[in-house]
Amino acid sequence: MNYYKIRIRKVILYSVLLIGVIVTIAPFVWMISASLMPVGQANQFPPKFWPEKVTFEHYQTLFSRLNVTRYFLNSIVISLSITGISLIFNSMAGFAFAKYRFAGKQKLFKLLLSAMVIPAQVTMLPLFLMLNRMGFINTYWGVIIPGMASIYGIFLIRQYIISIPDSLIESARIDGAHDFYIYWKIILPVAKPILVTLALFTFMGAWNDFLWPLIVLTKDSMYTLPVVLANLMGEHVQDTEMMMAGSVITILPIIIVFLAMQKYYLRGIMLGSVKE
């Protein structure tokens, strides 16, 4: 292939990829830009891409009048709790599946794997009634409990721990370490990369989840950010700029977390998909 041909190919390839970047990024840029526009400027023809005058009034309204701080904290508490608890539960189970032999292991594992085909929506109704009986409706626990363990998480951790050499565990055992010590002091530190990955997955899933919190949390003081945003959509349909500010507040934390930890996140997806 000659140099000239390669050159043309490069140009085409780059321009296609760049259009892709514009398509994926522009909506976010516009979201931020519109959130800084004065009232009414986003509803204009032809559309305005940049604010004529930057204003923070919508953020002010959201934080002062609509008490967004509270929702932000709700989101944080719920997402962190789900992440923390599920990390412990899943890693313990993943460890057991990877490094122990016990009666019914294969059967149990197969059962869990095939259960992944069951859509979560099947459980919604009875789960609601059940948590209601237990008094968890309109509490943080109502949202946290269904996320405490996940089959996918167990599977992901098991895949990783299985590749940890047995000799590491063996030598610890010879030193007289008991099982929980091995789990806590040897397995967890070695499995740190996958734990971080899973933590990110879980956190993002919990942060972005909207249907279950919408059902379980009845009082608005308990709402999470996505639920509030969906609510605002009903109440402030016309206030485009304010809705955009709300979207920025909802999206920004998760994007920051993602950008900071993207290395782990992307690797985790590959781990979950490629058969070792």
Partner: protein, 300 residues
């Protein structure tokens, strides 16, 4: 003897301790509700029963029969099928193209492209819906504005029954293709470089290389992606729930949305549970068919 260090232990009782918390949570808060839902699907549990459980009765398969007789159910099936049949191939193709573009030897700044294509995946769906509702705005929306450059008339994307579903498909593909792209990139990285070098020596052109090396080597990856996307798209819910509420004229009513409506809006829980199991059946069938097509594919 892989587990020999533990053979001197009382047959792995410790393992059960490690399993207990996660398994309890999964059994109590997942399997039990699934069972309960199955049971419920054979009852007429409804708004009357909400205040007083004695007002529910066993009705056998009446809910299932009832569902199959409802035109709205078939409409939901058609809509979901539309979404799946158009959306899944589109999503798979777009993510494969993106992955190949980024992995091309000619391209630098790979991480940057990867990152930007992945951003929509991370973003909160509700917020994305807020943005896209405005992109689709018939008068002030950017999409119609850009289409206007090409002389295309204003389209009422979310208000017209003909366009509402394509609009949701575009948004869903935009939101999700980055995820599959990453998996494809992993798959591409696993293809030995030597294969391409050999093809190059044989004088194969780009199309031939793609057909005879890239595609066959990605069979497993493509199978995995198609399956997961398929399952995910069958459960199409949040997009229509937030963007159109199933409208206009039920043109975006999906199975899960119908289920949600029946269950939580009208509180016909028996009926809704039956719908959930029909959906489960559909997903199971789709999975089996897909796995048959992809013979050498193993579940994860």
């Amino acid at each position: 003897m892989r587990f020999k260090i533990f053979t001197d232990m009382p047959k792995g009782n410790v393992a059960y301790l490690f399993l207990a918390p996660a398994m309890t949570a999964i059994f109590v808060f997942f399997f039990l509700p699934v069972m309960a839902a199955l049971l419920m699907s054979f009852t007429d549990f409804d708004i009357y029963s909400l205040g007083d459980v004695s007002r529910a009765r066993f009705v056998g398969f009446a809910n299932y029969i009832n569902i199959f007789q409802k035109p709205l159910f078939w409409q939901a099936i058609r809509n979901t099928a539309y979404f799946v049949v158009v959306g899944v191939p589109l999503s798979v193709v777009v993510s494969l193209l993106a992955a190949m573009g980024i992995q091309s030897k000619l391209v630098r700044f790979k991480p940057l492209f990867r990152l930007s294509y992945f951003l929509p995946v991370v973003a909160t769906l509700v917020a994305v819906a807020v943005i896209w509702r405005f992109i689709y705005h018939p008068r002030f929306g950017i999409l119609n504005y850009i289409l206007g450059w090409f002389g295309i008339q204003e389209i009422d994307w979310l208000g017209n029954p003909k366009w509402a579903m394509p609009a949701l498909i575009i948004m869903a593909v935009w939101k999700g293709f980055g995820y599959n792209m990453i998996i494809f990139i992993a798959g591409l990285q696993n293809i030995p470089e030597s294969l391409y070098e050999a093809a190059d020596l044989d004088g194969a052109n780009a199309r031939q290389t793609f057909r005879h090396i890239t595609l066959p080597m990605l069979t497993q990856t493509t199978g995995f992606i198609t399956l997961t996307t398929l399952i995910g798209y069958c459960q199409f819910f949040a997009e229509p729930y937030i963007m159109t509420d199933g409208g206009p004229l039920n043109s975006t009513l999906s199975i899960v949305l119908l289920m949600y409506r029946e269950g939580f809006k009208y509180w016909r829980m028996g009926y809704s549970a039956a719908l959930a199991f029909i959906l489960f059946g559909i997903i199971l069938i789709v999975t089996l068919i897909q796995m048959r097509f992809q013979r050498n594919y193993e579940l994860l």
